[in-house]
Amino acid sequence: MTNSKYKLTKEDFKQINKRSLFGFQLGWNYERMQGSGYLYTILPQLRKMYGDDTPELKEMMKTHAQFFNTSNFFNTVITGIDMAIEEKEGIDAQDTVAGLKAGLMGPFAAIGDSIFGALLPTIFGALAANMAINGNPIGAIIWMVVNFGVMFFRWQQLEFAYKEGVELVTTMQHRLSALTDAATMLGVFMVGALVATMVNVEIAWAPTIAGLTIDVQNNLDMIMPRLIPALVVGAIYWLLGKEKMTSTKAIFIVLIVSIALSALGIVG
């Protein structure tokens, strides 16, 4: 049997991490998305496990070049579990590994997107943007520091996943879903706060009725300050729920409607 006795070393983890951190998505394409990226990150290790120019290596290279797409913040968790299995079972694990990759990429994409794709950019992006608009770059620097923390976390998870193996997914599930829940809650709270500060539009329309000028904006402020921004966001939220609506289309619709309302003197 060519199932080698090769054991992954610290050096191997370092190499996989480096390749993942600096190259994982370079080959992203419509056909197989991160497929070639997955192969690239573990290619040196595959060569060590199966040996150069063996039919097993070719078989596994083909397996790992297949369609793959997950969060690029969690991809090495899957890699770690995969490596642990392949190291033990070699080519016999081909189907297991292919199934594992297909089964895990969806859930990890979802968690990764909500925490790293939506939540962190919301909180720190909002802070950074808020300060930036006032001419202060500190918020952006804070964000960058946080991102370096995230990098450290990404660096750690490979070895962790390798040691924990498949059990990791079941033991972590409850904690991860609790974290996602709390994280999305904070996200929703922050969006509320942002709507109240970052959308700067007011009613400029001040009709004169029987010689009396009515300051519409002032009246609205007495009902609830920042009511107009809330209504605008609510309207766009509703718009986005329409079929075939994309965020890009929404942006251009808002652009045109804003110009029209401004030209009519309703908002300013």
């Binding site: 080959g27 992203w28 909002a126 929703v188 509320g192 942002l194 920042r226 965020s247 251009f252």
Partner: protein, 296 residues
């Protein structure tokens, strides 16, 4: 003209680099607010860069690259808008709506082109696997950096090099014949972040966390009004009374975020402490599930 060749060079290099940063190492340099900061530094007006970058940041707040979907390229938009805003002297908010947003929208096509070009390299990799050419596999993989980088660098270079005349006449028209459009674009620039927030709400479980959306909004709306009025008062008093030094600050957003964090922390604790309901024997789970479980 107003934009020097070395400024074009640096901004072009940055445009090519930022997409690679975004895809891999994720330092944050690929965020619009940094695009604004860097473009501002290069152009010699950091404040304008930060205003444009900050607004574009908010516009794309909820627009992520989920599942490989293309999104509007706010970074290239920010770079080009900042360069022209500083170089030609255009109102930043007008530059957001008149340059940054349309450019960001057009750049979606370049993103698609870049991803498409990589399919070619992916197929070459398949051939190299058959040939057991390991170096070839890696080379064709790393070539992807070219499709990504050039898909951003080329348009930014072309726009900065040849767009000056166009933007120049655009600015003069917006400030004269089409004043209404110029004003409208400023308003649109200020409204843009609303789209980012709405997209984000579509993505987050907003119905489940509705009370917190209201809390976040109301706390902030009230405080921002109070802080804003105190500042206004300070400015007014300061302009009348000479000895009065106006030390009133604007509302610190971090404080609001900490309130939210406290609430989220509580939520996390509560969820973790709830025992994990075993789903294996879910066949008998009914409204009185716990009691039936005890009988087992």
């Amino acid at each position: 003209m107003a934009i020097q060749w070395w400024q074009i060079l640096i901004l072009t290099l940055y445009a090519g680099y930022q997409i690679l940063d975004e895809l891999q190492v994720y330092t944050g340099l690929a965020q619009p607010v940094f695009a604004g900061l860097i473009a501002g530094l290069v152009m010699g007006d950091v404040t304008t860069g930060l205003i444009i970058g900050g607004s574009m940041q908010l516009t794309v707040l909820g627009v992520g690259t989920f599942g490989g979907a293309s999104r509007i390229d706010a970074n290239s938009g920010t770079v080009i808008a900042t360069a022209f805003s500083v170089g030609i002297g255009m109102d930043p908010e007008q530059a957001i709506a008149a340059i940054a947003v349309p450019v960001a929208g057009l750049m979606i096509q370049m993103d698609i082109l870049g991803r498409f070009a990589n399919t070619f390299f992916a197929n070459r990799i398949d051939t190299k696997i058959e040939e057991m050419d390991y170096k070839g596999i890696e080379r064709n993989f790393l070539m992807g950096a070219l499709s990504w980088g050039l898909s951003r660098a080329i348009p930014v270079f072309l726009a900065l090099s040849f767009g000056g005349g166009f933007v120049n006449s655009l600015v003069s028209v917006l400030n004269n014949q089409l004043q209404w459009l110029g004003d409208g674009l400023s308003v649109a620039g200020a409204v843009m972040p609303a789209v980012g927030f709405a997209v984000l709400l579509r993505y987050l479980p907003v119905k489940k966390h509705m009370p917190y959306l209201i809390l976040g909004f109301v706390i902030t709306a009230l405080l921002t009004t109070v802080f804003g009025n105190i500042q206004l008062l300070g400015d007014t008093v300061g302009s009348v009374v000479e000895d009065f030094s106006n030390g009133f600050i604007s509302m610190p957003m971090l404080a609001i975020a900490l309130i939210g964090f406290a609430l989220a922390f509580r939520e996390y604790k509560r969820t973790v402490e709830t025992p994990n309901v075993p789903t294996e024997n879910s066949g008998i789970t009914s409204n009185e599930g716990e009691i039936e479980d005890d009988e087992l």
